[in-house]
């Protein structure tokens, strides 16, 4: 079992010792910051004075698992075998500290029994707290962020619809005389409205598809900028098929509404006023 500790590297040395130091893994960020390479010997201490310290050998460098809750902090971490960490961190004046753990990860045979497991554990070991690794909707900050992003999307959509409507009004006005002639030769309002609605759907769908393609094309750029900024492999933007489909499905009805709304102001007039007679 390995344990993660945020430790202070107080020095790296290449001096050979008789006994081979125990191995540790260091995060890529710590290796870069402390100029460490595989095979280096480092000293870890629990305090800046180095009163309790031990020497280790860097056995490998790892990429920390991206954590959305911690992406703004530098991942300066080292992983030790648990006995090594206890030897290093336990308070010699407190024998109980060798028996203390910060957390235990448990994989249940039946994940649905997590609640009962927590109750049983607390009954057997008062003072312990059992909590699910999966967050509930109420305490998940990402559920809140999702609601925020949905709200922003809705506002953007309202603004976009207003502009689409304005464009369709201009286009309808442009074709005023054509519409008048079509009405004069006997094409019904319903047929003209249907054609305008179809045009709206096509424009909105093409716009949505273009938007999705633009999002796909810029996805890598946005991720690259944020990943470089926060030195993480976390993926910030991902255009999934369901998101793309949702964008198109939302855009199509808006196109119909904009097309019909813009044309209705023209088509409800009588034919003579449309052809300016």
């Amino acid at each position: 079992m390995r344990f993660i500790v945020a430790a202070l590297v107080v020095g790296a040395t290449a001096v050979g010792l008789a006994a081979e130091p125990h191995p540790i893994l260091v995060s890529r960020q710590l290796a870069a910051r402390a100029h460490l390479a595989v095979g280096d010997r480092v000293t870890l201490a629990v305090d800046p004075q180095g009163s309790r310290r031990a020497e280790f050998r860097v056995a490998g460098i790892y990429e920390p698992t991206p954590d959305p809750m911690r992406f703004t902090t530098a991942r300066l971490e080292a992983q030790l075998h648990l006995p090594d960490l206890i030897d290093l961190a336990a308070d010699p004046a407190d024998p109980a500290s060798r028996e203390s753990l910060t957390a235990l990860n448990v994989a249940l045979v039946d994940p649905a029994s997590a609640r009962q497991f927590g109750v049983d554990l607390q009954a057997r070991a008062p003072g312990t707290q059992a909590q699910r690794t999966a967050r509930s909707q109420s305490d998940d900050p990402f559920a809140v962020l999702e609601r925020f992003h949905v709200a922003i999307s809705a506002v953007t959509m309202i603004g976009g619809t207003a502009f689409l409507l304005a464009l369709m009004v201009i286009r309808a006005e442009e074709r005023r005389e054509t519409v008048g002639v079509l009405r004069l030769v006997g094409i019904s309002r319903r047929t003209l409205l249907a054609s305008v609605a179809l045009e709206g759907v096509v424009i909105a769908s093409l716009g949505a598809v273009f938007g999705v393609l633009l999002a796909v094309a810029t996805e890598g750029l946005v991720n690259a900028i944020f990943q470089a900024r926060y030195d993480t492999t976390l993926v910030f933007v991902r255009v999934t098929p369901s998101i793309a489909l949702r964008a198109i499905l939302v855009a199509a009805p808006l196109g119909i509404v904009a097309g019909l709304g813009a044309s209705w102001t023209l088509l409800r007039r009588n034919i003579l006023s449309i052809v300016r007679r």
Partner: protein
């Protein structure tokens, strides 16, 4: 006729499309305005919370401001700090997890704060009295309970409870201390599910069974107006070399670098996108509108209206569309910000009084500059089209068409 009058007549003539364009700019402008409020909102709100607590310097034992380590020999340090001419007052804070038992109901885990002189600004009493105005005879262990916890437990001023210190991760058999709730308060940094309970430092020591232990987690210092926080920090570091003292500005800056960076980045991305969106849409509308009025513009040129006035007319049209929408965007943005703020404040663990969208004149100034730039940029292509128009050929095409 001036360019402005020509533009306003054109806008009045195409009422429907003008109304829709202004509405679109207003909505997008509101979003832009909100992103500007968001970019520094958390920092302003956080700084305001710190300032309202009435202290401008924080001394901790290391581990930064989020992970607090005890300050060794804190009592002598507090005494030395209080004696400094740069310091107006200082407060000592102890923080510990504990268990609170009411006469009925299950015991609950709480965060116990032992405070000496920190009440002024640290919390606001909403019922009962403060620790500094205790009824006679003063209770042995007076408690101020955070409002959410008081509601959860159904307790109020005058109720008796039992308090037992329970350090995290340590088995303890400390006896409970009989306490009395003297007040219910809104803690400055309390969350919606706040479990904070404050008491006097004496009662805290008694509950913790401490004799001679002297390790406060935090010392709050208020500097004198003449000296200011930086001079107070220098004086504290002279008294105790290596002491970790931070001014409120430094604490805000530290949070800015770590916790709040995401919202700054997202507001930058979204405000850039909304600005680009507004530019594209206004430019498209104006271009389509100019294309629709090519004959009209050629006629204006033919009767002697110069290129410069036509260009100015289109610039005014753009300014009226963007300006009208931009002005509407400010109240609309305030309403929208209230809604978005309510969504983001549902984030777990955030102080109830922290806000994401905070108005500042700087945001308004940037909003206006960005919109003015958008209006000018959006008018550039239609102006180029209109001013390079071949008058005779366009008029002929209009007549033949």
């Amino acid at each position: 006729m001036t360019a402005f009058r020509l533009a306003s007549r054109t806008i009045r003539r195409y009422r429907a499309q003008t109304g829709l364009a202004v509405a679109g700019v207003a909505v997008i402008g509101a979003l832009l305005f909100d992103m500007l409020l968001l970019s520094r909102g958390l920092l302003l709100s956080f700084g305001d919370l710190l300032d309202r607590a009435g202290f401008d310097v924080r001394v901790s034992g290391g581990g930064g401001m989020s992970l607090r380590l005890p300050i060794p020999d804190s009592s002598s340090l507090v005494a030395a700090i209080r004696a400094l001419p740069e310091v107006r007052r200082a407060a000592e804070i102890r923080i510990q997890t504990a268990i609170l038992r009411t006469r009925v109901g299950r015991p609950v885990g709480i965060t116990l704060v032992g405070a000496d002189g920190a009440n002024e600004g640290g919390w606001t009493i909403v019922a009962g009295t403060d620790l500094t105005a205790l009824p006679a005879p003063p209770p042995r262990c007076p408690l101020i309970v955070g409002r959410p916890l008081a509601v959860q437990l159904g307790v109020g001023p005058g109720d008796a409870v039992a308090l037992a210190i329970e350090p995290a991760g340590t088995a303890t058999a400390l006896p409970s201390l009989e306490c009395r709730i003297v007040g219910v308060a809104q803690f400055a940094f309390g969350t919606a599910t706040d479990d904070t309970v404050a008491t006097t430092l004496g009662a805290f020591h008694e509950a913790a069974g401490e004799v001679g232990e002297d390790e406060a987690e935090l010392i709050l210092v208020s500097s004198t107006r003449e000296a200011g926080p930086m001079a107070a920090i220098e004086a504290i570091q002279r008294v105790r070399p290596g002491a970790r003292a931070y001014s409120n500005e430094q604490v805000v800056e530290q949070f800015n670098r770590n916790g709040f960076a995401y919202f700054r980045q997202i507001s930058l991305v979204l405000s850039s996108l909304t600005m680009a969106f507004a530019f594209l849409l206004v430019a498209t509308l104006l271009t389509v509108s100019v294309n629709q009025r090519l004959g009209e513009i050629a006629a204006l040129r033919a009767i002697g209206i110069g290129r410069a006035r036509v260009a100015a007319m289109l610039l005014w049209e753009s300014a009226l569309l963007v300006g009208g929408g931009g002005l509407l965007a400010i109240p609309l943005g305030e309403i929208l910000a209230t809604g978005l703020d309510r969504i983001l404040r549902q984030m777990p663990g955030l102080p109830e009084q922290l806000h994401f969208f905070v108005f500042e004149p700087r945001a308004l100034a940037i909003h206006l500059v960005v919109l003015a730039t958008t209006a000018i940029a959006a008018a550039a292509y239609p102006v180029w089209l209109a001013t390079r128009l071949p008058i005779a050929a366009t008029l002929r095409r209009e007549v033949v068409g």
